[in-house]
């Protein structure tokens, strides 16, 4: 920490406790930041593409997860470095906004930073670099839009959607069954999609996991699956033409929020209280029964007595249904959530074709399936797999695929994958660089190089020679002015991504380039890092 002195040689204290703080500034700060961010990008780099590898992450508590999903990896790495954390956020915002391409965005940011480092060594001012990147980014985005194609999502039994889902699933551990899972994801999304408004409420797709079986056994249930069973072992296991009463109050005597005391001072009071108590239960069950409901789902618990009264009145019930499930069931069955017993009316009941208990394996675990709900078609994807890790990873993969399909329904423009879109943009940016007469030219050119890094990375992960294959693809793109030439990752014998049918959504690609550029600009603007020494 540098010290300043006044005229009499006394030191100025500029920062509080500055002796105990660490400070980095100028070029040193830039470089340290860039290296930290690059370290993260390097970790993710080998996960990119269909032949990308997975990462094994051990949590602080010793739990193991294996994943290929960029956002999950960076989140679970527990990164400490402040600049590296920016990349974590970058990946997460891509996940929140688009849901897919979380690895790609970090790798691209890493490539951009790598280029920035050489530019800094050349002595170009960071702001000039970020300006250049900005301009290059605009050019790239514009070019992406020109090369994008609209696809007909309805054609050929939604073939395009399935292909896009397959592209998203291709890099995951479930890739063996990508077509089946892709189809499941597409059906699920289309079931709940509002095609007129081009909107999909992803809340209506519930993803439930259960270990056992194999990934092949994953299936789509046209209804809601909840991990609960009937409250009393002797209640019927199946209810047809269910009229569902959805309660958010417990089958127990009321507990007013105001603090109160009931003082009993005589035996008569005591007896009266007992009767009152009994009456509560009888009334509660009666109210539910009278409304015509034939099944009650409750967010809270039941008293033993209430439970038995329900059984006696032939009213199957489920207790401790989670809040999200309650909402989902309400949406799907058209039930109103009822917070008080007094407010139960027949109109507030939800309707479903059937509610039944299903059982898995030898461990006697049961789940409830609510099928043929009257309102929207809520669906559940039940994921199976050999172990918890596989099931978890399959869940993340299917989530990605669902997001891709949703994005396509919102905006049906696609670009082709396999690095072809990045290459096409790179060529365009490079051309543009020559037209710029200021220092930014170098930055723009570097941006083009960074874009080229993505196909390079893809080729590297697939065991191809990165330089040769990228050079070939670039040459062919220019010769044939065909922006669909990419890297033949799957070794199918063609580099035309249209023939390989590798679809990626335009929105995801656009977002990747924009977000990566933004974060890089942000990192380049930091020239001073002050942190506590022991940090």
């Amino acid at each position: 920490m540098s010290l300043a002195f006044d005229d009499y040689g006394r030191p100025y204290i500029i920062l509080r406790d500055q002796g105990q703080k660490k400070r980095m500034k100028g070029l040193e700060a830039y470089k340290s930041n860039i290296l930290a961010a690059k370290a993260v990008a390097n970790t993710l780099q080998s996960s990119l593409g269909p032949k990308g590898m997975d990462k094994m992450l051990v949590s602080p508590d010793g739990d193991v997860s294996v994943t290929n999903d960029g956002a999950t990896i960076v989140e679970k790495m527990e990164i400490q470095h402040p600049t590296a954390k920016l990349l974590v956020e970058l990946s997460q915002s891509q996940d929140a906004e688009i849901g897919d391409g979380t690895t790609g965005v970090v790798v691209l940011a890493g490539k951009l930073l790598e280029q920035a480092l050489t530019l800094l060594d050349k002595g170009i001012h960071p702001l000039k670099i970020s300006d250049g990147f900005d301009r290059a980014c605009d050019v790239a985005i514009k070019h992406l839009e020109t090369i994008s194609e609209e696809i007909d999502i309805q054609a050929n039994e939604h073939e395009a959607l399935i292909q896009a889902a397959c592209t998203a699933l291709g890099s995951k551990v479930v890739s063996k069954r990508k077509r089946e899972l892709g189809k499941i994801a597409v059906t699920a999304v289309l079931d709940v999609a509002d095609l007129a408004r081009k909107d999909v409420n992803l809340d209506l797709i519930k993803i439930q996991t259960k270990t056992g079986g194999s990934v092949e056994d994953t299936r789509l249930i046209s209804g809601i699956l909840i991990d609960k069973d009937m409250s009393h072992p002797q209640m019927p296991k199946e209810v047809k033409e269910a009229k569902i009463c959805l309660l958010t109050c417990p089958f127990e005597p009321p507990k007013p929020k105001t603090k109160h005391n009931i003082n009993i001072s005589s035996a008569e009071d005591y007896k009266k209280l007992y009767q009152q108590e009994q009456q509560y239960f009888v009334d509660m069950v009666k109210l539910v029964k009278d409304s015509g409901a034939n099944i009650a789902l409750c967010q809270w618990g039941f008293d033993d007595e209430a439970n038995h009264l329900l059984l006696q009145n032939e009213l199957p019930a489920v207790r401790w249904v989670s809040g999200t499930d309650v909402e989902l069931i309400a949406m799907a069955t058209g039930a109103r959530i009822i917070p008080r017993f007094q407010e139960i009316t027949p109109e507030k009941l939800g309707k479903a074709g059937s509610v039944k208990e299903v059982q898995f394996g030898t461990s006697n675990e049961r789940m409830l399936v609510i099928e043929n709900c009257q309102c929207t078609k809520a669906v559940t994807i039940l994921i199976r797999g050999g172990s918890q890790m596989i099931v978890d990873e399959a869940k993340r993969s299917i989530h990605d695929a669902i997001c891709v399909i949703r994005n396509l329904i919102k905006d049906n423009r696609i670009v082709y994958g396999g690095g072809s879109a990045e290459l096409a943009c790179s060529i365009q940016v490079l051309q543009y660089a020559d037209e710029v007469s200021s220092v930014e030219q170098y930055a723009i050119r570097s941006f083009a190089d960074a874009l080229e890094g993505i196909p390079c990375c893809l080729a590297d992960n697939c065991g191809l020679n990165p330089i040769t294959s990228v050079a070939q693809a670039k040459a062919r793109q220019l010769q044939e002015s065909n922006p669909r030439i990419g890297i033949d990752c799957m070794e199918l014998g063609t580099t035309d991504m249209k023939e390989q049918r590798i679809y990626e959504t335009l929105s995801s690609k656009k977002q990747q380039i924009q977000l990566a550029t933004q974060v890089v600009k942000m990192i380049l603007k930091i020239d001073d890092v002050i942190a506590p020494d022991d940090y």
């Binding site: 094994m56 400490q80 072992p233 007013p256 108590e277 030898t362």
Partner: protein, 536 residues
Amino acid sequence: MDIVGNVLPQVLKDEATEDKGEMARLQSFVGAIAVADLVKTTLGPKGMDKILKPTGPGQEMTHITVTNDGATILRSMYVENPAAKILIEISKTQDEEVGDGTTTVAVLAGELLREGEKLIQKRIHPQHVIAGWRIARDVALKRLRDISSENDINSQEFHDDLVKIARTTLSSKLITTDRDYFADLCVKAVLRLKGSSNLDYIQIIKLPGGTIRDSYLDDGFILKKQITIGCKRRIENAKILVANTAMDYDKIKIYGTKVKVNSMDKVAEIEAAEKEKMKHKVDKILKYQPTVFVNRQLIYNYPEQLLADSGITVIEHADFEGMERVAAATGAEILSTFDAPERSAQVLGHCDLIEEIMIGEEKMIKFSGCKKNEACTIVLRGASTHILDEVDRSIHDALCVLITTVKNRRVVWGGGNSEMQMAAACEEEAKKVQGKQAFAIEAFARALRQIPTIICDNGGYDSAELIQNFKVELQKGNQICGLNMTDGTIGNMSELGVKECLRVKEQALMAASEAAELIMRVDDIVKCAPRKRERA
């Protein structure tokens, strides 16, 4: 520091580590193979057992377990290595899903990775290995399904199959000498369930004393409780009321109630009211006219006495499972309120005879001639609790397999036959596949063949010779040959009656290959800094 000498900033937390590429892969292989090697000696009819001893101080920590069950061994182990944890996880899943084959699945995954490591050393990319394994798995699965056979659920053949499967499962356990006896016992128990898969209805009671041979299946249902003093010890034509209600004192459930009195008289009054309330409840119960009253909760002396006075036999403190079983067996409804005596006929359970019996030193209550005959009890006897626990686990395995078989109905030949057939199918396939994947397919076949090899080794036979003879025998077209582990020869599985459930094999194959694939795909291991725990 990187290669050029730049000091790299610290990205991860202090104690976190990151291993990349070869280092990461090496770590996974070593961990997974170590776990597989640990359990592999328990495989097969001549497999050995393990003693598990908990670490740490305390009385309960001195309790040891002796077992042959893969899932139990793996579950009790504490491992650091993440890949080893994945193997343990699949073994657990196997246990939950089909109940048996828990060792096989871990060993198969370990052997696959051992072969995988060799391929990686040959500079074959993991993705190519995985691609090959996927082809091999499909081929193996197809062959496995092709060689399986199915019998009608009610036929005598199916019944025989069940006995054979139970024998095969039990042959690797402690009770292998009495396996015929226990196989028969398990099959009878499972057949009583009539296709339902609820294992809860089969109760297993463990009582130290006697020999293993003294174990038996009881037709009726045995509750490990005592009849309250002063009640009849033998009730014929019993009408049973099963309840889950507070019989100590009825606590007031209305929130915020407090009893506040200002004189001793009032206390007496309240006490009387309380008694009155209990009496009222007992009266209501009496209206149902039961002869036996079973409650899940505690029963205080007063109501107990009231009930006993009316000639009702009282059983208190039945645990929840026991109560559910009583209800299921006798066809009773579990009651918590007693306001509808008119439903008496509907809610009361029935059985021909309830009596107190003595098994060994302990008194128990036996319900025989129940209305619904689904529930039954297996009484296990043995010289020590360790033996009993192990027998319990073995019987549990056998019951699980039988239930799975009843559901699935398809069976394959045991004695390593299915593994060898699958391996042969993979090898045939490898000849047709172009490219490097073929190596991986061959490796898959070798891994599959390791299972019978280990079984031979564990039996102390010359595995190389036996397996080769086995291969030749299969090649000749003898589809039902397998390892005869009593003589160390290749025998006829049909004559030896060694059968296994298809579902168990299927699940083991799929889970093991999925797990191996998962571990193979890893090229980077990030270990977060362990959470700091404040010592209390």
